[in-house]
């Protein structure tokens, strides 16, 4: 008797099940683009979803066909719902891979978007963020000639290509939020633009974009982004172009670390930057003779160190000129010298441009590749 009652209770409870939405009613949004709507002054949201080519024959081939849906609204959520009613299936926002922010809306501010993504459980905080030179919608609607879906192309660039070059900076939403929320609320985001190469349209990810207080305040080109990467220790597989005997030479960097310390000297705040890197000679056009000249590598080390110093100091000076601390210096002070930080945190905007920089580099070129020296043939 007891068991029957319990069973009845369980069944009646189970039948009050909540709303379920099985997976075939969804179409997955891979790229989420947000722009400013010219006409109404609100938001225009573009969702890019893959076309499901799969089905009966060979199972689940995806191809690289995509289609986009746009919606407008006064707030982002309203714009998204407007896009909902224009799409064939319910867009699923839990697996967004890339978020593209149009330049216009970036300058106005993305605080609302950040709050929406943090709060609403429909969204996810793992997409990679990029600011678009221009409108996000144009980039998303362009017909690209990739062999994979554009979202995955971007992901692969960010994950895999970043091992070969440091000319761009890319960040995921959660790390971006960390940067925005920590003082002084300024950090970098990725930058993407559509380039045309003859008839082909391609996406180029290079440089970075600067956000302060949730607003886009500037862009960095590839060189500055490389300097920033050097400063923050992300310079695995970078290049340093130096010249030896007047001829260009390239030193490849394997990896290394950068440590930054704030030191107080008298009345000035000095940041000591120590970079240690190991490298190898990539190509040289001046026939360096490594075999007979053991001092040569020391010279090259010094030259490379100089080059790195220049890159880093250029970047820091640039930030100081703009008066925006997107380098994370205040956070470093907060965590390494909290007593001092408590005192000067309110005046950071004045302190930052006057910070002096002391850079030490320590480059070790470990090997010279396959060959040791080139006979002077050419």
């Amino acid at each position: 008797m007891k068991r029957i009652l319990v069973l009845f209770l369980i069944i009646s409870v189970l039948l009050t099940y909540g709303c379920s939405m099985p997976i075939e009613n969804y179409n997955m949004v891979l790229i989420f683009g947000i722009d400013k709507d010219e006409k109404t002054g609100g938001y225009e949201v573009t969702l890019q979803m893959p076309k499901m080519a799969g089905g009966k024959e060979e199972g689940t081939s995806l191809g690289n066909e995509t289609f986009t849906v746009s919606g407008v609204g006064r707030s982002i959520e309203l714009a998204v719902k407007d896009a909902y009613v224009k799409s064939s299936k319910v867009p699923f926002l839990g697996h967004i891979q890339v978020v593209l922010i149009g330049e216009d809306i970036g300058r106005e501010g993305i605080v609302e978007m950040a709050d929406l993504f943090k709060r609403d459980p429909k969204y996810t905080l793992t997409p990679w963020l990029f600011t678009v030179d221009g409108r996000a919608k144009d980039l998303m609607e362009a017909k690209l000639e990739y062999d994979v879906l554009p979202a995955f192309a971007i992901i692969h660039t960010v994950r895999d290509v970043s091992r070969y070059t440091i000319k761009f900076y890319a960040v995921q939403f959660n790390k971006f939020l960390e940067g925005i929320e920590a003082l002084p609320h300024a950090t970098l985001m990725g930058r993407i633009k559509l380039v045309e190469d003859g008839d082909n349209k391609l996406l180029e990810i290079s440089g970075a974009s600067i956000y302060k207080d949730g607003k886009l305040v500037g862009m960095l080109n590839a060189q500055d982004a490389a300097g920033y990467n050097w400063l923050t220790g992300r310079f695995k597989n970078a290049d340093a172009a130096i010249s030896y005997k007047g001829q260009p030479m390239n030193v490849g960097i394997e990896g290394g670390t950068t440590n930054i310390w704030p030191i107080v000297r008298g009345n000035t705040l000095v940041y000591k930057v120590v970079t240690e890197a190991t490298g190898y000679v990539q190509w040289a056009s001046s026939y360096p003779d490594f075999e007979s000249d053991p001092e040569l590598i020391e010279e090259l080390n010094a030259a490379t160190g100089e080059r790195i110093k220049k890159l880093i100091s250029d970047t820091v000076k640039d930030a100081q000129d703009q008066g925006i601390d997107y380098l994370g210096f205040e956070k470093i002070l907060e965590h390494k010298d909290p007593v001092l930080w408590e005192q000067i945190k309110d005046d950071w905007d004045e302190v930052f441009p006057n910070i002096e920089l002391e850079i030490h580099t320590d480059v070790t070129i470990k090997n010279t590749g396959w060959i040791l020296n080139n006979p002077e043939l050419y």
Binding site: V6, L9, I10, V13, L14, T16, Y17, G18, C19, S20, G94, K118, P121, K122, T124, L125, T126, R159, N174, K175, L177, E178, E181, A182, K331, I332, H335, K336, D337, P338, V339
Partner: protein, 369 residues
Amino acid sequence: MNNTNDTKRACMDTRGYTFLMINTLISLPIFLSPSPTVAVSRQYAWLSVLVGTAQALMVGYVVIKLGLTYPDKTIIEYSQDIVGKFAGKIVGLIFLAVFLSISVMALREFTLPFQGFVSINIPLPTLLIMTMLLVTYAVIRGLKTISICSDVIIQFFIGFILILLILPTKNLNILNIKPIIPHDWGRVVRGSFDSAAFLAEDVIGLMLIPYVSNKDKLMKGNQLAVLLSGIALSAVTAMEIVTMSYERVDSTIFSTFMLLREAQFSSSLERIESIAIAMWGGLVFVKLSVYLYILADGLRQLLGLKDYKPIVYILAPIITYLAVLPRDISEILVFPNKVWVPIIYLAVLIILPVILLLISTIRKQGEKK
């Protein structure tokens, strides 16, 4: 084979007791408490947790000392011996009221992730009724079943802690937790009360001591449980601060779920928060079962009845109804913030056992003379 009569009560050994305590102490805080602790002590939250553990260790010491003076009785029974019949019953009622409020709160907080965090809305009564059914089934089968469940879940929990500490290492940023030595100890201490209040639920030991078979190493077992819970909590808090900076931990309610959602160990091993949800379900289930058991047992002893099972059948719907009452999340969070930490922690968990211990010591000394 599970007796409810008082003659032979032992149904778990010291190790089972330790596991049960770890389970009960750590189930809610490991998911819920990094956020409020970080709000006060920022990047020193892990130290705050350790300070809170020290406080809870003192509570644990008092609890076990008091409990071992009457090794075969629960506090409901011997409180009448210590302070007299009427006051003893009042003390018993106070403890039972505290247990009731904890269990109602735990039940309601249990449903929080399934309502807002996981993006599907299961109606609240369904969740509560299904959970209480399971908890009632376990409690009817007795404390031995509950302790076996907690043994199994602790073994999974050890694996879970390892996952929590190893998987997110790709997103580490050591800067987030520096400086290691805090510059402002005031912050550290102010933030410690939250985790201390959670870990001081050790007082349920007062109700569980008669059920332990081998009481020699009970003090060591209890302190070990509190210590291990505190260390695990501190490690998880540290991990969260390091991977997500303290600002984000502060703003996210269930920071441990967020930790696992963002942990990407490789391109295919991502979004493993389903493990966290299973763990949450298991841990809070054991906590609820233990609380329902000691409530029913305590009521039985207070009222002088023989069998606790009918009380369970009456209590379960009452708790379910009480759990439906808070309407929204701010009403839920009022309890831990405004009531639990300042009032209940101080008054009931610390002062009351200390007073009882003093009185019983004085009495024993009086008897000796």
